[in-house]
Symmetry: C2
């Protein structure tokens, strides 16, 4: 749980001029954490501020930031210290960057010159399916009377997914080979013909619980280090065939892209909203007064496509999905608590995916499998898409918005689909 | 792929007397690798030989083993070097321990004084379901006409499982809490009432492939570092309810126990047997001449139970399962190749589980869910078990056996079920 404090003050401005520009993703009220490198200097921790990055390692070396964890080449050490440490860091960084403090331009690196890395080595990655509309829309096709998974209203349905294939935004994805069965029963092996995106929220875990020590709704909110955008690239033909009964496997381990900047739980305090109403009410172990009043997050999320032809034509990306994270049936806190119900040890640096963030509006369908239910998308230049084609780029953006608060952005999560390789002889 | 060489010579004996005792798990033909510690000295790599451990770190320091990877506190570095390095290490260790070499008792640690650790940090854990009999026996109950998962005969069905909860043999398991639905539709939350074991083979991965670079049947055999025993503790009431459609989650992340000694692929060369016949034949990408002739492994595996009353009575563990790994429908090589079909990057230190190693005989049912289909097990002292009870210990053993070869053992994989905790108020 995070409190609204002076770091969220809408009047606070920064001596970094670009952070005060209207509409920037990274005003001084945001201060997201990431890992970057520059020509000649390896990965190190930083804070996005306007179009600049505050080099935390340099700030620590200059004695301006106390916590030595920020001098590591990853955010893992800071995540391991738990939420109190990140809250203290936020207060220090906010003071350091505020208008009125001594400007320290020597600690800034222009974002345009930096390469971003994964915030930390992903220890474990679990992916949820927490949107009612995503499940209902796709389930109706399978079973109109019972579109939802049996347990959907009782627990946030999830599966263990693949940690090794998580990649930072910007890395391309190779169209994978796979196996599936045709309708006539014949078998097929070759490059997928049904590559999809899933627009999800990433949840990064802070702190560890010992194996056997459950996570509860009381402890869950403080296990959330922060949030990001996550593209759960999905191979629909492979997935459909392989799933029963153990769930997705190769359909989900081709690549998972995450945005590089982690928007901390502290930064999002002004955007906490009541959780979606649940019917029936959740069992007590998945319920809390805090979650009901503050478990949701007012974040608007979009997915856009940029095809090779659009790129050549100089067209802007076309928005395929425009959705609200606050509409999810299960909140991030319930995901964390459910995950730890059985004493499963959640570790600092673990990653959760929220599942496809679809809403009830037709524009809020957050993957092509849903969008395609009403036929292929027709793009402004006349191209159409049932699935992602070679060279297409998928671009996610997110923005937290609330009355009386300075809106903050999530940056981007981008990825291009590269053609399949020739299968090795 | 491993060749039979002088290290497998049945006539070879060791200057470690206990390694020459008939029936030992660890004759000089075995030489499994593990990580151990002793009072006052931290984790280091070792080789099991009779009732002793050869301290590889000490042997390296003495100039007797060339590869510095064995001086790490984990086998991860050696696994990262790939199979050529472990084959070279085996030859060196075999020469060092052979009768006729200079005895080096100062490099030995009595196994009884050592504590075993996980061989390496488990990077990713994927669990397969490769036994026809396991699937058929449990599937018949669900759908007598179509007992197998649709894709069972076309690919080794698998799911991503949880890496953080993998533990070494000997660590106890706490009965977890969980949620499920009663037949009348009412909901239940509390300690599981259906704790089970699954007797599986562990497969440890050597070397890395880059994301996007597929693993093929040609490369798969050399990606197997070695084998062990794996108890995929399963929470049946939780699992049944949570599974559709994304597969097992909390039912499988309570704990996964592995035996501490990795039997290398080299050690198992004399025990390679033809793969089980597949009908229909596997697609070409899951088939190879080598796999058909050598993909199976002649390993007998057993699971036994020791209840608190049996322990008090001084009774021996009672064997619940007695099965053969060679009967599996899919081989380890096909599991590795399938996993990497889509370019998923398998990393040194990744762990695969074979799935429950059940055979066609009634005695070869390798979990209580299968055994219980004909009613609870009655133990020799009159106790009966439908599921594992508090204080019960489950003990796995494995032994590779083949004509003309010295039989080698896997050691043990043990775990006691501890009572549930009181749910935090």
């Amino acid at each position: 749980m995070a409190q609204r404090d002076a770091t969220h003050d809408p009047a606070r401005r920064s001596w970094v001029a670009s952070a005060n520009a209207p509409g920037t993703d990274f005003p001084i009220q945001n201060l997201p954490l990431g890992v970057f490198s520059t020509h000649g200097a390896g990965p190190r921790c930083g804070v996005a501020i306007g179009d600049q990055i505050l080099d935390l390692t340099a700030a620590h070396a200059a004695g301006l930031i106390g916590n030595a964890a920020v001098a590591e080449p990853s955010l893992g050490a800071l995540m391991g210290q738990g939420r109190a440490a990140s809250a203290a860091l936020r207060a220090e960084v906010s003071a350091l960057l505020s208008e009125g403090a001594t400007p320290r331009p020597e600690l800034l690196v222009p974002m345009a010159t930096a390469r971003m890395h994964l915030p930390t080595t992903v220890r474990n990655f679990s992916d949820f399916m927490a949107s009612y509309d995503h499940c209902a829309r796709l389930g109706v096709k399978r079973d109109p009377k019972n579109p939802l998974p049996p347990a959907f209203r009782q627990l946030p349905v999830a599966y263990h997914s693949r940690a090794s294939s998580v990649r930072v935004s910007g890395e391309s994805v190779i169209r994978p080979h796979g196996q599936w069965q045709h309708q006539d029963g014949s078998m097929h092996f070759g490059p997928t013909e049904a590559m999809d995106y899933e627009l999800e929220m990433a949840v990064w875990i802070a702190g560890d619980n010992a194996l056997g020590e459950p996570v509860t709704m009381a402890s869950a909110p403080d296990r959330i280090f922060g949030y990001g955008l996550l593209n759960d690239w999905s191979v629909r033909d492979v997935q459909r065939w392989e799933m029963p009964p153990l769930g997705p496997f190769l359909g989900k381990s081709v690549s998972t892209s995450v945005s590089p900047w982690i928007i901390t739980a502290e930064a999002l305090a002004p955007f906490e909203v009541p959780a979606a109403v649940q019917d029936p009410p959740a069992l007590p172990y998945l319920d809390s007064a805090w979650n009901r009043s503050h478990g949701g997050l007012a974040v608007r999320m979009t997915a856009a496509i940029l095809t090779p032809r659009m790129r050549a034509e100089g067209a802007a990306p076309f928005i395929l999905t425009d959705t609200q994270f606050a509409a999810m049936y299960w909140t991030a806190a319930t995901m964390v608590a459910h995950h730890g119900t059985n004493g499963c040890n959640l570790l600092a640096g673990d990653l959760l995916g929220s599942g496809t963030v679809s809403g009830s509006e037709e524009t809020a369908r957050a993957c092509l499998a849903e969008i395609g239910l009403t036929g292929p998308v027709v793009l402004p230049n006349g191209e159409s898409r049932k699935w992602i084609q070679d060279g297409d780029e998928i671009i996610f953006r997110g923005r937290a918005e609330a009355p009386g608060a300075v809106s903050i952005g999530f940056g981007e999560c981008r990825g291009v689909l590269d053609p399949a390789i020739a299968w090795p002889a």
